[in-house]
């Protein structure tokens, strides 16, 4: 059988950046997986914008545990899709961007975000668009940045 899980692109930061972009994403896969490891300049969001859409077309539901309590929150009509938070200690975030190239349904992402010194979390995010995703901007809003050495890898997963 053909290989079905392939790296598309990797970015490793040589300096702090508030924006990381994956562009010209081929439509030939079924799902995308975005894998992040790194640190933040402060506690900052790990937020996605698709296809340059900066409108209020994103929403999320979050479940998290802090080590002393578990909670759930929600954000509606956001201008970015929140799929994690990044702290100043080491973080890992894995985002599954499901059925990203279909032009029939809205786009749902599911993610796990882990910072051993802070919290473990699961997120679901919705982008209210039926457009195929061909560009992803990863933004640290609020003036923060992803720090030197942070890595962002985009994989394509192809179903039979």
């Amino acid at each position: 059988m053909a290989s079905t899980y392939e790296p598309i692109a990797t970015t490793t930061l040589g300096s702090g950046q508030g924006l990381v972009t994956f562009a010209s994403i081929p439509a030939t896969y079924t799902d995308l997986r975005l894998v992040y490891t790194g640190t933040g300049s402060a506690t900052i969001p790990f937020a996605l914008q698709f296809n340059n859409d900066t409108g209020s077309n994103y929403s999320y539901t979050l479940l998290y545990g802090t080590g002393s309590s578990a909670a759930s929150t929600r954000g509606t009509s956001q201008t970015e899709g929140y799929v994690g938070n990044v702290w100043t200690d080491q973080n890992t975030i894995i985002v599954d961007i499901m059925n990203y190239s279909n032009t029939t349904t809205y786009k749902t992402q599911i993610s796990r975000a882990n910072s051993a010194g802070n919290r473990v979390a699961a997120w679901v995010n919705l982008w209210r668009s039926t457009a195929a995703i061909n560009k992803i901007d990863i933004t640290a809003t609020g003036g923060g940045s992803y720090q030197t050495g942070s890595t962002f890898t985009l994989y394509g997963i192809k179903a039979a």
Partner: protein
Amino acid sequence: MLNVITGVHGAGTPPVTNSYESIATVTVGAGGSGTISFTSIPSTYKHLQIRATVLESNDGVMGFRFGNGSIDSGNNYTIHELYGTGSSASAYAATAQNNIGINYNYSASPLSSAPSVAVVDILDYANTSKNKTLRALCGVDYNGSGYVRLDSGLWLSTAAINAIDIVAYSGKTFNQYSSFALYGIKG
């Protein structure tokens, strides 16, 4: 093996070529489907993964049943859930179930074009010495409602899994454009 683990579970190292393979995909057509079936699953992998994008006709979970040849629809499954509703975190468990229910879809979805999604791992599925475990990360957001869930399930059988049924809740259907993709992961 390490490359497979880190590649699949996210440390960024790509897996060895052909260690993660697509086995079969079911995409629901017009009219919907009440059951999605994977049969004749080869025993040559170490683990299975199902990646699903789901539009469902009514409220309810989607239920996993396993089998070796014939599907086990007896009360031989247990489940645990940890889920967030956007306002609270809750947990649930049940024994003696006739399926492992994961995910959840709302009837007359507030956003009919918003699919729920699930990434489901079935570990050591062909082993004949262990009962079989499933874990899932799933959820849906409707811009004002929805949930995110961590599910785990147990099939009380040491039989190797070569058949999987995914059943829509209580006689309902998975709607057109729902898709279920089965992958094999080599060890």
